[in-house]
């Protein structure tokens, strides 16, 4: 038996690389590196972990350089020596950092990555119908439906955007969940959904721009404030008030921690004024924040960025709980809603007194213009 069955030695480089490209799981590549020193050197010299990450996340094409930070957060000293050893050290560093990135982006329990709301393109009644409301499932605040509402428009083609800041400036995102708002206190229970939705991810042009602003004021020009480095395909939206899931074709790295939801096309008019509105009651962005162990530093104006691995950094602790909060409206809420509606019917039919409302306070939600309907 010849000793020459080591395909890395026998086959030419292109062929060996082609074969190793079949390995999509980072674990396979990590084990290949531990077969022998020469196999490890092959993986490092050819930047195979970087190639794997680039195939998974084309967003990484804009990495300017890679850094490893030690205990004190200081950069590891650059080796003084031959250029060969410096280059090798750089390749070895890439190997370590991209292996970590590949690992954490392929093995995790998705969690909600929204840290806070930044801005909505328009808001009908601020703060009652603020974008802030989309961060909480409706049931947390009893007796009051929580939702964001856009301003009304005559033209249904006018879009809206919602912008959120994520928990980390470096996240991997797999899907976005949105629940359109159903105004069950309006006749016909209209659902103020949109025709379709699209997502963008990016970073602020200047980190200070976000500053302190009322959420009610839309950003002067979102496109000038942010640079979008990823745009998803357009997904049709259902005219239903359930939590709709929009799964990205591939997981995406959000570099910069900003996510924008574009709501395209209005479908529902409000009876009172005949204008088209869009209202959303709940938004979740599912994925995994990658800091503090992995971070990015964006280098403007080139738009490239530095990928940093913090040797001592841990990953954001995974909640470990199955996500069960963001379900469709639970049963008892339906019961309440039905009782509320029944009560109104009774009022209209003259069968009941206004003061007997059990679940909702009479004055409270009728002060929003949108919700009034003639009694």
């Amino acid at each position: 038996m010849e000793g020459g069955m080591d395909f890395l030695n026998c086959l030419d480089l292109d062929m060996s690389l082609q074969i190793l490209m079949y390995l999509k799981d980072p674990s396979d590549l990590a084990r290949v590196s531990s077969v022998s020193r020469s196999w490890r050197d092959f993986v490092i010299a050819n930047g195979l972990f970087k190639q794997l990450c680039l195939r998974m996340f084309p967003q990484l094409s804009r990495v300017a350089r890679v850094m490893e930070l030690n205990k004190c957060g200081a950069k590891e000293p650059v080796e003084v020596g031959s250029s060969y050893s410096t280059e090798w050290e750089s390749l070895a560093r890439n190997h370590r950092v991209y292996a970590t990135l590949a690992r954490v982006c392929t093995s995790f329990l998705p969690e909600d990555c929204i840290s806070k709301a930044i801005s909505a393109s328009s808001t009908d009644n601020y703060p009652e119908e603020s974008i802030e409301n989309t961060l909480r499932p409706a049931d947390i605040v009893p007796h009051r439906p929580l939702y964001w509402s856009s301003k009304g428009q005559k033209n249904p083609a006018v879009p809206e955007t919602l912008i959120y800041k994520l928990k980390s400036e470096f996240c991997v995102i797999t899907e976005i969940k949105i629940r359109p708002f159903e105004a069950y206190f309006q006749p016909g229970s209209p659902i103020y959904s949109a025709k379709s939705v699209r997502f963008q991810m990016g970073h602020p042009k200047s980190p200070n721009d976000l500053g302190s602003r009322l959420l009610g004021d839309p950003l002067p020009s979102a496109d000038d404030t942010f640079i979008w480095t990823y745009t998803s395909p357009e997904f049709p939206m259902a005219q239903e008030s359930c939590l709709q899931k929009f799964t990205l074709p591939e997981p995406v790295l959000c570099i910069g921690g900003i996510l924008q939801i574009e709501l395209l096309g209005r479908v529902q008019t409000q009876e009172v004024d005949g204008l088209f509105y869009i209202c959303m009651s709940y938004v979740r962005v599912m994925g995994r924040p990658l800091s503090p162990a992995l971070r990015v530093e964006i280098l403007e104006p080139s738009g490239t960025f530095v990928l940093k691995k913090d040797m001592q950094g841990k990953f954001h602790t995974q909640p470990g709980l199955p996500e069960n909060e963001a379900r469709e409206i639970p049963n008892d809420r339906w019961q309440r809603r039905i009782r509320y509606l029944q009560h109104f019917v009774d009022i209209l039919q003259g069968n009941a007194n206004v003061v007997e409302i059990e679940e909702y306070e009479s004055g409270e939600e009728e002060d929003e213009a949108e919700e009034e309907y003639p009694l």
Partner: protein, 184 residues
């Protein structure tokens, strides 16, 4: 070497070509199959241009880099592939053929020694036989995917030249990669 297809073929595809291996064996192959080897196709087309010879002439195409055993396997695999010029099968026939092919593929790979696999890959590469290359490359990758390091070393005959402490350090750093693999 008769083709198993029952359907009548269009006239041009019954032509045969002769391929000569490195150990001077001659293989008569149907044009439809031989054309999957793009290197052969290129050679044939060059010949045709220069010769204005009729199709199916008795040109012998030399393949100095391919041994007969390897070529036999590649031809056999090539025949099992859906033929581009065959009359379209109905769905049932297609399913049957697929199953047959799967069975054939499994049989082929079962007793394949690593050295033979490498020879097949080299030859498929030389012949520019895309489907064959993909198939055998994947077969090789399957001996790495989800397999333990010990298995890989054994299969490919790789000597472990790590120092024990070096290897241990690596395994610790990449502990996540070593969970749940086939020991086989």
């Amino acid at each position: 070497m008769s083709n198993t297809s029952e359907n009548p073929k269009p006239s041009s595809s019954s032509a045969k070509m002769t391929l000569k291996t490195s150990d001077n064996e001659l293989f008569e192959v149907e044009e439809a199959v031989a054309m999957k080897f793009c290197t052969v196709k290129q050679y044939f087309e060059d010949e045709k241009d220069s010769d204005v010879a009729a199709r199916g002439s008795t040109t012998v195409i030399p393949l100095p880099n391919v041994h007969s055993a390897v070529l036999a396997t590649l031809i056999s695999y090539g025949k099992k592939l859906p033929q581009s010029n065959a009359v379209a099968d109905n769905h049932e026939e297609e399913e049957t053929k697929k199953k047959e092919r799967k069975k054939y593929e499994q049989g082929l790979l079962k007793n394949l020694m690593p050295g033979e696999l490498l020879d097949l890959i080299s030859a498929a590469n030389y012949l520019d036989f895309k489907e064959g290359l993909e198939f055998f490359n994947q077969a090789l990758a399957d001996h790495i995917q989800n397999k333990s390091v010990e298995y890989v070393r054994k299969f490919f005959g790789i000597k472990n030249d790590y120092e024990p402490h070096e290897e241990e350090k690596y395994r610790e750093e990449y502990a996540w990669a070593f969970e749940g693999v086939d020991e086989d």
